[in-house]
Structure formats: structure tokens, C-alpha cells
Amino acid sequence: MKKKFLRKWLPALLIGVIALTGCAQQNNGTAATNEPAANGNTSTGTAGTERIKLRMTTWSTADSYEMQKSVLDNYMKEHPNVEITFESVPDGYDQKLLAQFAIGDAPDIIMLGETHIPIFSENGGLADLTELAAGPNGIKRDEFYEDIVDYGKYKDKLYSMPKDWTNMAILYNKKLFDEANVPYPKAGWTWDELYETAKKLTKTENGKTVQWGFKLPGTDQRRVQPLVLAYGDGIVSPDGSTYQGYMNSPGTVQALQWLSDAYHKDKIMPSSTDTDSFKGIDMFAAGKVAMDFNGRWPIEKYMEDPQLDFGTVPLPVGPKGANNFVFYGGWGIYAKSPNKEAAWDVIKYMTSRGGAEIFGDFGFVAYKPVAEEKGQASDPNYKPFTDEIPNTKTMPDMIDVDYPKSGKPAFTEALEKILLSESDVKQVLDEAAAAADQAKQK
């Protein structure tokens, strides 16, 4: 009985096992780089001749990935003793990164967004770069836009260097403005003026809106912040401890009333259902909205579109003045990396001339020499963004390290309620502030 079994299945098993071991052999070369610390990679400086292996991770795909890869390839040509494995995570970046942190084996160089920095550094996941930045292989502070570099700081320590960034501006469709005989917006305009302008640019046909004046993703708690800060002091106390009195302050209520009226009363903004159904369709490029609250990302594409005649203008101001925020992408170093100096050298290269040269064509870089060469401070399409750098405000994520479980869900839910149907804005915000504070207690 057993003999028959073996004779029949053994060949099949053998083939299977051989195939698998073959695969394992092929891929086991990289297993070595997965082991932390104790495999003999010393952390000498970049001039060392030992082979240094670094793992680097990114969430970038498509062209962005290619760009970064080409910069890394250049670096490796200049430093033949350094081998960088560039690991792309096409989706679920946070999930995979957290899993790697959890098992104590994360890549040396980690791509970070500004919302990652507080929670990762607070819990000791990232290495403190302050000394590396100030040391012999450091950076010259005046070669960078300080405000942007400071986005990589948490509690006064530097954890990340910027790859590129963008803040927000208003893009407007010149043709639609001309058709409606409305003058183009100018820097220093107010949110009330934007409201009135949008009203003039909203068109309906047979009761259905065919053109909206202004697009702002109202349920996006981040993008709503400039509006909130225009009228109030933000949704959280400056020390990050309380939401009561801030999320439901008179200023915040006024800001969200503006939003509610825009959707429900005057219908100058497409509702979330409209924006979702247009996902995959660029409403601004298609001429369905006259003004768009956006970052710099689509600008190069818009410049190539012969049908689209557009301009950019800084965000409007409110009673509390001008304010903006930054979407930041940068790199930090894993706290347990055995090759911190080598990793720092790569980061320095990527964030100054070596990388900025290439990234600067598609995004704002913090490295001044390249930024200026590429006209980021002077080109009329870019100036409205770069002029706003001094108006950058700190976002709730960076003020309250518990924001993901306290303020963020509460505020998002409040926004959803306000936009779904006309509601008592003060009441909704009172409930949200209470929920946020309660979540902080747990």
C-alpha cells in the first residue's frame, strides 16, 4: 500500500520540491538583506570600500517611481560600493510599513508623508537626523526653504528631508471667466469674493447644474483646513490636547457654514456624489468647474492641453489672514538601521542637486538653487504656490499625535453630515468636538 503510494506520488513530489528549491535559490540572494544588524554591514562613512547594502521603500508608482530609480542609479554609479534595493509598494504602503516596523525589520530609507512623521517619531521608529544634518556631511540650512524642511521636524528634532512638496492654490479656467465676463481673481482676494465669483460662474440648464463655480472636496478634512483657518484658530488647541472650543469655535462654525451654503444654498460646488462619479474624469480640464482648489500636480499636464487656458492664483484670505498647508514627501531613516550614515548620504543626494534636478520638473523642491533655476519662484504658474510658503500653517496631524483616532474621524464625520443635507452646523460641530475629546480620553 505504502509502496504504491510512493511510486505514484514521489515523482510528482520530487518535481515540486525541486522547482521550489530552485525558486528559493534564485531569490535567497536577497534574503540576506532582510536580516537586521548582525550580518556584518558596518556603518562606516560613504568613502568606505566595504559593500553597503541599503533597502529603500517608496509608495510611488508610474513615472514618479521611474524618476526616483534613475536618481538612485546615478548615485550608485558615483558610489559603486553602495547597493540600494529600491522596493516599491504599489498599494497599502502604510500597512506594509507598519508590518515591517512591527516585526522589527524595516527598510533603511523610508519614504514619508508629513502625517507619518509625528506618530513614527513619537514611537521611536525613525532615527533623529539632527546631528547628521549638522555634521561634517550635513546640509547647509540656507540652501533649503526652511519652512519646508521644518515640516520634517517633530518636537524640534529633524526626522525627514524633503523630496518634493506642494501647497494649495486656486486654478481658474480663463475661457469660462471670459464667457461670463468676470475679471480674473487676484492675490489677496477673500473667501467671500471667491463665493461671489463662483456664483457668477455657476450655470444651470433645466434645473441641472452643468457648470460649477468652484470645486473643493468638502469631505476631505485636510483640504478644508485653509477655509477653517481663514475664519478661526483651527480645530484643535495649540498644545494638541482639546477640541472643545476649537472644532466648534465661532470661526470654525462660520467656515463650515460657508461650505454648507456653497453646497446646499447656492450650489456653487459639486456635491461629493458628483465628484465621485467624475472620478477618473478631470472636472476642471473638462471645463465643468471654473475654479479648482488644487496642488501643483496637474499643472504640467494642463500646460500641454491646448484646449485648456488656465491661470493660478494664491488661496483667498479670511479675517484671520492668509494660510496654507503643505503636502510633503520626504525620506527618513529607520531607527534600527545599521547603516545610518550611508543612508543619510543617499538622502542628502536625493534632496539636493542629485535628486532635485530631476524631481524639480514635476514638483516643487526645497533645494533653493534648483528651485530657482527651474523658475519655481518666478514662473507665473508656480509663483502663486511658492509665494505662499511663509503662510504655511501646522496641520492638526502634527499638533495632536492622536489625531487619527480623535479629531480626524470626528471631523470627517461632521463634514459628511454637513454636506449630506442642510444641517445645524454648530450642533454638528459641538457633537464632533465632544466625540474627539472623548476619543482622546480612551
Partner: protein, 277 residues
């Protein structure tokens, strides 16, 4: 069977299935149409259904822009191995559960079913840790070897089918001198060909389309599978829908072709007449 005698019923059936088919096919028409669009047509409103001229080069471009040939190969290897392993191990295990009594069999069966009840979110990290410890991360091993050791879902399915086979057939085989595996091979499997095909199709789909496991276990781009690779067109601010759909359409072909071909063998198991009565 009787439908051949009632052409009216037959036509009604076709009508019913036909209407439903439209609902089923609609998204694929959309996918196919999008795959032939130029960048400008992607964002046109109202949406374009028949993009003319058909940009056939989207397919060539999508597949050469990124190493899809390699990724198809990776996915094929993983899938074939895992289907093979699944059929091998699950039939044997299900056979045990169906035909052989032992103390603890019932409890063991319940334990097996219960392994399907724990969400991936909370076992993902311990599993990841396990595989990292034995150095299997960044290889295909975590995606293939476990299938050689059974899978609760298929064992359950196969066990249900094995239980429907009358024991008389085995008695006859035993008298003829068949051993444990002889019975499995000569009696149980031939009768359950449809469910074996089902297991093969299901596992092929699961392995071919798996995203979560390759995402967490594979780091190097050269090892990626199709499902990971497709996300490369999902840029941060700009999704390249046309290329994405082109790849998605082609990626669907193997599973669909397999399903279509598998139907040919989806016939009734060998008749058991002669054994009864």
C-alpha cells in the same frame, strides 16, 4: 433534458439568460472600451463608448512600459504550483475526513473550519514575522508551499462530495485488493471530477488574482505578480486608466479560458450503476 422537448421553455431560458448577460457583460465592455482610448478621450464627458480610432498600441505600450512579461511568468509559476499543491493535499486530507474514523476527528474538523474565521488583518503580522524568521520573505515560498499542506475551504468542499459516494464502491475495490490510496485514485476521484475541476478553477483564480499576500511578502520588483504590477498605473495623482484596463483585460484571459475549457470535462462522474441493488 426535458428542455429539448419544449422549445418554448428553451427560448424563455435563452431570453432570461440573455438579459442577465447584458448586466454581466456591461462592465467588461466598459473596460475594453477604455483600454482603447487615447489620454484625451479618457476624461471626456459624456463618456465615450466607442473610442475611434482604436488605439491598439495602448496594449503594446502597457506591456512594454513595465516588465509585464516577467510578472506574467511569476504569476503563472506561483499559480500552477499552488493549484498543483492544493489538489494534491486537499484531496488526501478530505478523503481522510470523509472515510476514516478516528477519535478527535469531529473536533479537528471544527478546528479546521474555524481557521477560516479569523480576519487577515490580525494574523497578517504574526505570519509575516514567521516567514521573515525562516528567510522566506522576498521569495515565492510563502505563496506556494502552504498550498501543499491543505486549505480548509477546499478540504471542506471535497469532504462534502466524498461523503456522497456510496461506500459499496469502495468495498468492491477493497475486495479487489486496492489500498488506501488505490481507493482514492480509482474510486473517489473519478467520480468527483466536476468538484476537482472546481477546486482547480477556484484556486487558480485565487492565486492568479491574489494581491494581499504578494504585497506583503514580495519586496523586489522583479518578483512581482500581475496584481501588484497593475497598480503601477495607479499613479499618485493620475491614474492611467487606458493602460490599466489593457492589462486588466489581458490578465483576465487565463482564468476565463481555463473556466471555459474546464466546462468540457464538467460532466457527470462515472455512473455507479451496476454496483447498486
Amino acid at each position: 433534458m426535458t428542455l429539448k422537448k419544449h422549445p418554448l421553455l428553451g427560448s424563455l431560458l435563452y431570453l432570461l439568460l440573455g438579459v442577465g448577460s447584458i448586466a454581466m457583460l456591461f462592465p467588461f465592455v466598459w473596460m475594453l472600451s477604455t483600454s482603447f482610448k487615447s489620454d484625451a478621450q479618457l476624461y471626456a464627458w459624456p463618456p465615450v463608448w466607442l473610442p475611434l480610432p482604436l488605439q491598439v498600441e495602448n496594449y503594446a505600450r502597457a506591456f512594454t512600459k513595465l516588465p509585464f512579461g516577467l510578472w506574467f511568468g511569476n504569476t503563472a509559476l506561483i499559480t500552477v504550483l499552488s493549484v498543483f499543491g492544493t489538489l494534491l493535499s486537499c484531496t488526501v486530507t478530505a478523503y481522510g475526513f470523509a472515510r476514516y474514523r478516528a477519535p478527535g476527528r469531529g473536533v479537528l474538523f471544527m478546528i479546521m473550519i474555524s481557521t477560516m474565521m479569523i480576519p487577515w488583518t490580525v494574523v497578517m503580522i504574526p505570519k509575516f514575522f514567521l516567514f521573515t524568521q525562516i528567510g522566506w520573505v522576498n521569495t515565492f515560498l510563502p505563496l506556494t508551499v502552504p498550498s501543499f499542506f491543505g486549505n480548509a475551504f477546499y478540504v471542506f468542499l471535497l469532504r462534502q462530495f466524498f461523503l456522497t459516494i456510496p461506500p459499496d464502491t469502495e468495498e468492491a475495490a477493497k475486495i479487489d485488493g486496492a489500498g488506501v490510496f488505490g481507493i482514492l485514485w480509482h474510486v473517489m476521484l473519478p467520480v468527483t471530477v466536476p468538484v476537482l475541476i472546481t477546486v482547480a478553477i477556484f484556486q487558480f483564480d485565487a492565486a492568479w488574482n491574489d494581491f494581499l499576500q504578494p504585497l506583503i511578502y514580495l519586496n523586489k520588483q522583479e518578483l512581482f505578480t500581475i496584481s501588484l504590477g497593475m497598480n503601477f498605473f495607479n499613479g499618485q495623482f493620475d491614474v492611467q486608466w487606458n493602460y490599466l484596463m489593457a492589462v486588466a483585460c489581458v490578465a483576465m484571459l487565463p482564468t476565463v479560458i481555463l473556466f471555459f475549457i474546464g466546462q468540457k470535462y464538467f460532466v457527470q462522474g462515472i455512473a455507479l450503476t451496476g454496483i447498486k441493488g
